[in-house]
């Protein structure tokens, strides 16, 4: 398992008391790669991050950082000797130091002049050079986040760890800061492990995403693979709203109000998930539906539909259409199904 990549975590397990919060997690991050840990709160993603930083010592498993064993096998390198940068959810700027003092904090072994040059260079990269003399409490949330980023990057860490770094910002600012952060990280070619509960954020930032649930990694892949080939219903539904059908299976086919879909052998029931954008309006054939409501949401419109079926209970479903022409309420439509947006999982 030993390689020259940025970070390799192997079979990490961690307990808080009797609770197993991280369960046999293995992942690796290549040089300059950005991996996102994505999952609902309490899934163990932050603990995994803290283990990588050395802030927690795992119950079992090993952590190898830039080819050096830092956790496991009786070894625990304390956080101050790992050369990692950590970006905190609350930014954690030192209230007793000004902005420059904060950025210089991690590089105090440099000489005074070098230290100042390096700190100002980092502040310049994040666009905060003019605030070098300001105090943390004088800055807005977005500015604090930028300073925290500069502070974490100043010592040139071998690995950056980001813990929900944008969750304290409002939506518009978040998009902007996220964009800037991505560029700063990529410009510095630093391997990054980031934690978020927001799938859109994960897809925006990450080269690869690991979806976590109850301490385990459910699926780890590139964002488009997760979106297009989810490993289970949890992953499929985590990346956006889905229409869910619990369908009985006969002759290897799952019966839904929208038609029959092939299932693997052996299952008596199946879960069929169809993304709203996988439902379109057909010209002639296809299942029939009644429009309950139609709303324009901007780039897309959302259509609420009711589908009836002679032998199944009627279903309420959502379709997202890119067309701007809204059907009228009560109108009867024929639907088309994009099979690449349909995910079928045999139920056990």
């Amino acid at each position: 398992m030993i390689s020259t990549t940025g970070l390799v975590m192997s079979n990490i397990t961690h307990h808080f008391g009797r609770t197993r919060v991280v369960d046999d997690v293995s992942l690796s991050i290549g040089p300059g790669e950005l991996l996102c840990l994505l999952g609902p709160s309490g899934c163990g993603k932050t603990t995994t991050l803290r283990i990588a930083a050395g802030l927690e010592s795992p119950s079992a498993g090993t952590v190898v950082l830039n080819s050096q064993l830092v956790s496991g096998d009786g070894v625990h390198l304390p956080p101050e000797r790992r050369h990692v940068g950590f970006l905190f959810q609350d930014y954690a700027l030192f209230p007793h130091l000004d902005v420059l003092g904060n950025v210089e904090f991690g590089i105090h072994t440099l000489s005074g002049a070098e230290r100042k040059t390096r700190a100002l260079e980092m502040l310049d990269q994040v666009g905060m050079k003019d605030y070098a003399q300001a105090w943390p409490h004088q800055l807005s949330g977005g500015q604090q986040q930028r300073v925290a980023l500069a502070r974490a990057l100043a010592p040139n860490p071998g690995l950056m760890l980001l813990d929900e770094p944008f969750s304290g910002l409002d939506k518009r600012l978040r998009d902007q800061v996220r964009d800037e952060t991505l560029h700063v990280l990529k410009r510095n070619r630093v391997s990054t492990l980031m934690v978020t509960h927001d799938p859109e954020e994960a897809m925006f930032m990450a080269d690869r995403v690991a979806v976590m649930r109850q301490g385990r990694i459910v699926q780890m892949d590139q964002p488009e693979a997760l979106y297009n080939r989810p490993a289970d219903p949890f992953v499929a539904s985590f990346f956006g709203e889905v229409n869910v059908f619990d369908a009985p299976v006969t002759n290897g086919m799952a019966n839904t109000p929208l038609g029959r879909f092939a299932v693997g052998v052996g299952a008596a029931k199946a879960q069929v998930l169809i993304r709203p954008e996988g439902i379109g309006i057909a010209d002639a054939d296809g299942p029939e539906a009644v429009v309950l409501a139609a709303r324009l949401l901007g780039r897309v419109s959302l259509i609420h539909l009711r589908v009836e079926h002679p032998s199944l209970p009627p279903a309420h479903l959502h379709a997202r259409l890119s067309s701007r022409a809204l059907p009228a309420e009560g109108e009867r439509l024929r639907l088309s199904i994009d099979h690449s947006q349909v995910f079928i999982f045999p139920a056990t």
């Binding site: 050395g54 010592s57 390198l77 905190f88 030192f94 409490h137």
Partner: protein
Amino acid sequence: MPTYPHKTNGFKAPLPWLAAVVVLAALVALPVLVVAGNLLVPSGGIWGHLAATVLGSYIGNSIILMVCVGAGVALGGVGTAWLVTMCRFPFSRWLEWALLLPMAMPAYVVAYTYTGLLDYAGPVQGALRAVMGWTSARDYWFPEIRSLGGAVTVMVMVLYPYVYILARAAFLEQSVCVLEASRTLGRGPWRAFSQVALPLARPAVMAGIALALMETLNDFGTVHYFAVDTFTTGIYRTWLGMGQPAVAAQLGAVLMIFVAALIALERWSRGGAKSHHTTSRYRRLPRIPLPGWRGGLALAFSLLPVLLGFVIPAGMLTWWTFQVGLSASFGGDFTRLAGNSLLLALVAGLAAVAVAVVLAYAQRLHPRPLIRLAVRVASLGYAVPGSVIAVGIMVPLVALDRSIARTVEGWTGASPGLLLTGTIFALVYAYLVRFLAVSANTVEASLGKVTPSLEAAARTLGCGTVSALRRVHLPIIKGSLLSAVLLVFVDVMKELPATLIMRPFNFDTLATRTFTLASDERLADAGAPALAIVLVGLVPVLLLSRAIAKSRPGEPS
């Protein structure tokens, strides 16, 4: 190939911290354990005699004192702290520091002054008699100051600042956002206080009340002078009067049960709730203006403790000093007394805070049962009355000195005498045992200001535990460290029983001199040294008031 770094035991066995904490705690706990050990020593008939006669009144008086003083300091301390930090009324900024003044007043000095003021021969009753035409005590009723009620009044007047200081600091440190959030959620100022600010400040308030009650139980000077039977007077009497150190220590051990209950209560009230402020942003506190009669009421409420606890007693002391004459008052060995007091207080204050920082930080780094237990044990010293601490220290120190002397004599043939007993070292040790809880409570509460993520930020930016303490924790809690040094400083200045017993031969402090003179009913002569205690105690009180006003987190100081 991975390189293997040093095999650190990491988080599993923090040996240096563990060792430091256990050694420090053992040193501080030693006198307590010596005293507690006396519970097991059979002491014959005297204990049975005490239990049958006076023990009931000791317990009853102590409980009444605790309940009344606790209620009094809570009301006075929290009420004034809230008014001056959150409201605007005439002189409120001025009261903010004036409310600290009674801290400089030892309870026994206040007891002496009110006795001088209110007893039969004092100016108040004299004036009443002159105005009303009464001729003797049989003609009228006047409250007896030398009573249990008088002791309660005196102690509330001088002990409320413990609650005031900690509650005020807690109110200042509360993020204004939290208060504003509660206002926008439909709470009026009063409900914002009772439902948000007060619960958030509760750990600090409980710590303040616990400190004040420990002081109450430890008070010797006031109850001795007012002839109220409590444990401390009983201990003093059985030890010095009856020559029964074991029985005295047993009374002390019973008293420790009271204080242990008090500490348990305080810890329980804090619960596991380590609340960290949800925002790191601080802004100036908006103060609620109180116009008209409401401002007048607030002013009266906040002014009363300053008048009763400081202005009137200080006036009385000044009057006595002038009555005796300035050259007679401050001549002679006065300078030496003051120097002795100052030196002891400063050394003890710094030592207590240094030890408290080590204990609190170790506990925070490694919240394991053994360390927690050690820290608890270390703070229990505050429970033990000064006189009993003296026994607890003297017994092992004398034994140590004797064995050193024997060894040295074996080598050189000449005995060096007793090296530690009856030195300043022994006295500072006693103060450390007694006042560590003061600094420990304050330091521990203030470390809560350093959020876990600030700590983690320092660690990931290359700081080891010691360097993080130096570069992050200490600068952030600077203001509270000053408070802690000052609290111990003032306590040592006033401390009486331990100093009386453990001082080096011919070594007098202002406190011991005041006590001796007052016990001889030379109240006016006691005015000058008492006034000096008050004045010396006043300087750090004023410095503290400026320092805590300035050192808010996030502002350059």
